[in-house]
Every structure is written in C-alpha cells, then in structure tokens.
C-alpha cells in the first residue's frame, strides 16, 4: 500500500478512519492524564491500573454474558479502581512501600485475570467470539464507530474536567501540603485525578491492551517533558505525542499483515521518547553532550593561555616563544595542545614561530594578565 493510498484510506475508508480516530483519541486522553501521573511520580500506577483491569473485564463478561465493549470496560474501570484502592491501603496500613505494593497488586490482579480468561475459554462456548483475548494486546481493527463516539464523549468530559480544575490540579501536583493548607480538599482531588487516570487507561484497553497500556501513560508525557518547562505546553505536547503515536501505530498495524496494534502504537510512542531524549534542547542528550564539549574546549583554551602566560612571565618577555614540546610537557596530559594553540592564534591571542614554537601576542598577554591576575574575573578559577 503506498502512502497516497494510505492517506486516502485514512479519510475515506471506514475501518481505517475509525481506527485512526479511536487511536488518536486514546493518545490524547492518556497523554493528558499521563502528564500528571509522571509529574506526581506515579508512572507505575498506570501499570497497576491497566493490569488490574483484566479480571474486571473477565468478571464483567461472566456476569453479563455480554461482549459489548461498554459493559466490559465498566468492569475494567471498577477493577482498576479497586486495584489503586488496594495499593493505597497496603501502603497506609503496612510497612510495605508503594513500589512493592504496586508490584504485588499488579501481579495478583493480572494473574487472577489470566486464570479467569483461561476458564472462560475452556468452559464458555461463546467465548471465542467474545474475543476477550484482544484485551491482552489490543486490537484496533475491532473498534466500531460507536466505540469511537463513546471514547470521544468520555474523553471530552475528561478534558473538560482537567481544564476546569486546572489550577487546583497544578497546585496539588506541585505542592500538595500547601494546597491542603489553603483549604483545597486534596484527598478529593487525588480521587478525581486517579479516577480520570483510570478512565484514560480503560479507554485505551481495547486498542492497546492491558499489558502495554501503561506505556501510553508514561511515554508521551516523558517525551513532552523534554521539550518544555511549562505545564500547559507539556500537557498539550503530551496529548499531541499520544495522538501521533496512536494514529501512526494504528496505520502501521493495519497496513502490514499480522502486526499487533498495541505493541505497534507503543513502539511509535517509544520512538518519540527516544527522539525527545536525544534531540530536545536543554534537556536532550545531544544538547548536553554539545554543551560539555564546548565547556571543555573553553577550559582547554584557558589552560593553554595560562601556560603561555606563565612562560612569558618567567622570561620577562611577553612574546618569548617556546617549542610545542615544552608546551606539551606543561599541559601534563591535557590533549589537543596544537589545536588549542591554533584556536588561540585564530583569536589573535597567540602566534606561531618557526620551526614550531609559540608565544603570546601583545593582545594575548593583555588578556592573560587581566584574566589570571584578577582572582575575581572569570577564567582564573578554571586553571
């Protein structure tokens, strides 16, 4: 399938359009709520919620006998909620720390969910058609238009709530105790935020699956954080990244045979994280590497200038030239002596003499004098 065809289908093919829209919606919602989860250092909570949702889906199916997504997802939401409640009460009432509590709850719920799923497949004849397995790794192709409409409505409500309580949620995330001291009900706001996170996760279960859904909570937010230092922009970017990952992942998996949707979407999101970690200004690795290199370069030039200055002082002659061998010995293992000298020469601070000797220029002598004799000036401390 070529790109033009793919784009054409994206807008006019019912299945593809539905899948792309649904995946975009899930990306926007999980990206938004994921930003709060990441900033509240609750990235793992998403993992626990999504895994805890599995038994909810199975129980909902057993109770209602229905494979309608809404019924199953309500079951998922309730189970996800119970999971977080359990995590909280384990942390509060025992000496177990929250990372361990999350791990335990995640494993117990997920294991129970798998047991129920196996039972359902063995004992209930309609189960194969019910396709509960798709909740493990997600199946975007199974999305129907009415699912997308449900997602849009729920997602809209979630976003409106985030907008309405914008300043309260920001304050809660940044400084919980200060929020409490001002009279904001931090417990209730916690519950609101956790509930919204549960909803965001449950919305994505059909498409991405319980195993990998937490990546959609963490990845877009982690990527977005690299690019900006403002909360509003971070959340906007996070939602955008989520949507991009959703659409690209869904398109890829629908245009290549046997490519599962959930993992593909998650791989797209991870690619965005990778790109952000490498290339984002200020926080990106490349940026940091470049800055360190520049610093080292500056330090080398300073040190070289200082060596030349020391020699000039010793000989009481600002332009007394020394062989590069001497300068290399003075550098004591600091590499790139010739390069530094050439750079200094370019700046008009040093001068080359035949055969291979170097000295300061009068200007270089002045600069060195200023820099190294005044202990307060920048550069003196770098030697």
């Amino acid at each position: 399938m070529n790109l033009a065809q793919l784009l054409y289908d994206l807008f006019f093919d019912y299945t593809l359009r539905t899948v792309a829209l649904g995946s975009a919606l899930l990306g926007i919602i999980s990206g938004t709520l994921g930003a709060y989860a990441v900033l509240r250092k609750q990235s793992l909570l998403g993992d626990a919620i999504s895994h805890a949702a599995l038994p909810g889906i199975a129980v909902a199916f057993l109770l209602t006998g229905s494979k309608a997504p809404l019924a199953l997802l309500i079951g998922a939401a309730i189970a996800g909620w119970l999971g977080t409640l359990l995590v909280n009460s384990v942390v509060r009432n025992t000496h177990i720390k929250d990372d361990s509590a999350l791990g335990i709850v995640l494993a117990v719920f997920f294991g129970f969910g798998l047991v129920l799923l196996t039972y359902i497949q063995k004992h209930i004849p309609t189960a194969t058609q019910a396709g509960l397995n798709k909740f493990l790794f997600g199946q975007a192709a199974a999305l129907l238009e009415r699912d997308v409409i449900t997602m849009a409505i729920i997602g809209g409500i979630v976003l409106v709530l985030v907008g309405m309580f914008w300043k309260e949620l920001k304050l809660l995330t940044f400084d919980r105790e200060f929020a409490a001291s001002q009279g904001f009900p931090t417990r209730a706001l916690d519950i609101l935020l956790t509930t919204l996170l549960v909803v965001a996760i449950v919305i994505g279960l059909q498409t991405v699956g319980v195993v990998l859904m937490s990546a959609m909570v963490v990845a877009p937010a982690a990527a977005a954080r690299q690019w900006t230092d403002r909360l509003g922009r971070m959340i906007f970017l996070s939602a955008t990244f989520g949507a991009l990952a959703g659409v690209f992942g869904a398109l890829l998996s629908s245009s290549v045979k046997n490519l599962p949707t959930g993992p593909t979407i998650v791989l797209c999101a991870s690619t965005l994280v990778l790109i952000s970690m490498l290339f984002a200004p200020n926080r990106g690795l490349l940026w940091g590497w470049f800055r360190r290199r520049q610093n080292r370069h500056k330090l080398h030039l300073d040190a070289q200038l200082h060596d030349l200055y020391t020699l000039a002082l010793q000989h009481n002659d600002p332009e007394h030239a020394h062989s590069i061998v001497v300068l290399r010995a003075m550098a004591a293992g600091r590499g790139g002596v010739r390069h530094s000298l050439e750079e200094l020469a370019k700046l008009g601070l040093a001068r080359h003499h035949e055969p291979d000797s170097w000295s300061l220029t009068p200007k270089g002598y002045q600069v060195a004098q200023q820099r190294f004799n005044d202990p307060l000036s920048e550069g003196a401390v770098t030697i």
Binding site: L39, K167, K170, D175, E177, A180, S181, Q182, D229, L231
Partner: protein, 276 residues
C-alpha cells in the same frame, strides 16, 4: 513590644502520634498576636509536626487548635504557610511567577483563574524578596536561597495575619538570611504574627521575641528573655548543648546547639567548663 489580649494561636492538649509512637505529647501553647516566635528543639522533637498539626495537615490524636479564637478551618484566609523548601520537586515544569501566584489560589477559590491582580501581587511580593528579575525563570534553575525566597513571596501574596514558616533559614546563603530577617521584621512592624521552625539557637535572641522550646513535650514557651534560658535549653536538648559564652546575670545566653555533640554537659558541674 505590645501583645494584644487574644491569642493568635491557642493549642490545648495537643497529642500527635505516628502509629503508636507519640511525636507530640500534650502540648499547650498560647501565642500572642504580633510576635515573632521561634520553635526550637532537637531533631525529632516534633517542630515540623507541631506546625503541620496547627495547619491541619497532620491529624491530631487529641487536642484543640484555635486561630484567633476560632477553629483553623474557619480562619484559613488569615494564615500563610511556607513549607520546607525540600518538600517539593523543583524540577516541576513552571516558572517563578507561577509559583508565587499559587499563594492566591486559596483566595481565588474554585474555578476562577489568576489574572492581572494576582500577577501584580506576585510581582510586588517578588520585589520584596529581591526576586523580581527572576519572575520568568524556570524554578529548577534557582539556587537554594532563591527557592526559599520564592516560597516566602508565595506566602506574602496570601496576605495573611499569621505566618507559619518551616525552617526558612535551612541551607540558605547569607544574602537570603538577611533578606528573610528583614522580611520578618517588616511583618512584625505590620502587626503580623510569625511562627518559625528554627535551628540556629545563636540567632534566636537576635531574630525573635518569643520562643517555644519543644522536645515531644512543650519545655517552655514565652518571651525570649524569660524562657530562653540555659536551664530550659538543657531540658530541651538533653544536655547536648555547647555553651559558647558563659551566661552572666544580665546578658542573654548565647548558645549553639550541636545535635551530634557528644560532650554531655549534665555530667559537668559548671556548663562554662565545656565551652569550646
């Protein structure tokens, strides 16, 4: 110094326990309006917990707390709070001005967004703590002292009557320390009550006029010149206090507390003998 008759803060029989361990035991406290009060005591004495219990952030096991004669919940608007600087993540994606404006959120109430008035107030407060030029600065780029001043500015925009500050002098540079002291004096001149969890015993007589000595129980509370005595300090710190100057009859005791100090003063007949 003039203190009005109603207590700004009145704590009765306050007990706080974490699990079974009591952190504060049967605390009674009366802080008159308009004083600068230091809460001092050794590590683990419950200083921060006392402050948080008064602010309703820690549930008390027993006891009653009144602010200007009424329960705290009704008097929130009168109270400003400066938490410990280390209690938040300074890598949070926001800038200085935004953090300071957070001090207005309580007064704004639900749904209303901060606007021009809040910005103006925030700039005014930043001016007072000498941080106006940093308004647009991302908060992760601040030094410890600057972070502290941002927190103070945030409390200032609360426009409170009673301020609670948890270790504002902790790990700040000399400039910031002077700025905070100036601010405290300004607040006192404006008739505010300020309660400060404080670590440096040496500066207590200089910075404060009221002091509470705490070590799980209330050891003493009152005007500095009356209760900030060698005997009370020894009660609070269990003898691990190094006296720098032998206290005389007229001079206030000048002391330095050294929690890790091993010399046990109570074994010595005269405290001045172990002076360092």
């Amino acid at each position: 110094m003039s203190h009005s008759q109603i207590a700004a803060i009145e704590v009765t029989d306050l007990t706080v326990a974490y699990r079974e361990k009591p952190v504060l035991w049967d605390i009674d406290l009366q802080v008159p309006s308009g004083v600068l009060m230091a809460i001092v005591g050794p590590n683990g004495a419950g200083k921060t917990t006392l402050m948080k219990a008064i602010l309703g952030l820690v549930p008390p096991a027993a006891g009653q707390i009144l602010i200007n004669n009424r329960p705290y919940a009704e008097q929130r608007k009168l109270v400003g709070y400066v938490p410990q600087r280390g209690s938040v993540d300074w890598d949070f994606p926001t800038n200085v001005l935004d953090v300071v404006m957070m001090g207005r959120y309580g007064a704004l109430g639900w749904l209303r967004r901060p606007g021009k008035r809040e910005r103006d107030l925030a700039f005014e407060a930043l001016e007072k703590v000498g941080m106006r030029d940093f308004a647009d600065r991302q908060i992760s780029q601040l030094s410890g002292g600057q972070q502290q001043r941002v927190f103070l500015a945030r409390a200032l925009v609360q426009d409170a009557q009673i301020y609670f500050m948890d270790e504002p002098f902790q790990g700040v540079d000399a400039t910031t320390e002077r700025a905070i002291v100036a601010l405290l004096q300004e607040l006192r001149a404006a008739g505010k009550t300020v309660v400060v969890v404080h670590h440096d015993l040496q500066t207590v007589p200089e910075y404060f006029d009221w002091v509470t000595l705490l070590n799980v129980r209330r050891i003493a509370s009152g005007p500095v010149e009356e209760v900030f005595t060698e005997a009370n300090l020894r009660l609070a710190y269990g003898g691990r206090v190094a006296f720098l100057n032998p206290p005389t009859e007229h001079s206030k005791p000048i002391v330095g507390a050294e929690p890790s100090h091993t010399a046990n003063i109570s074994t010595s007949t005269r405290p001045s003998e172990v002076a360092s």
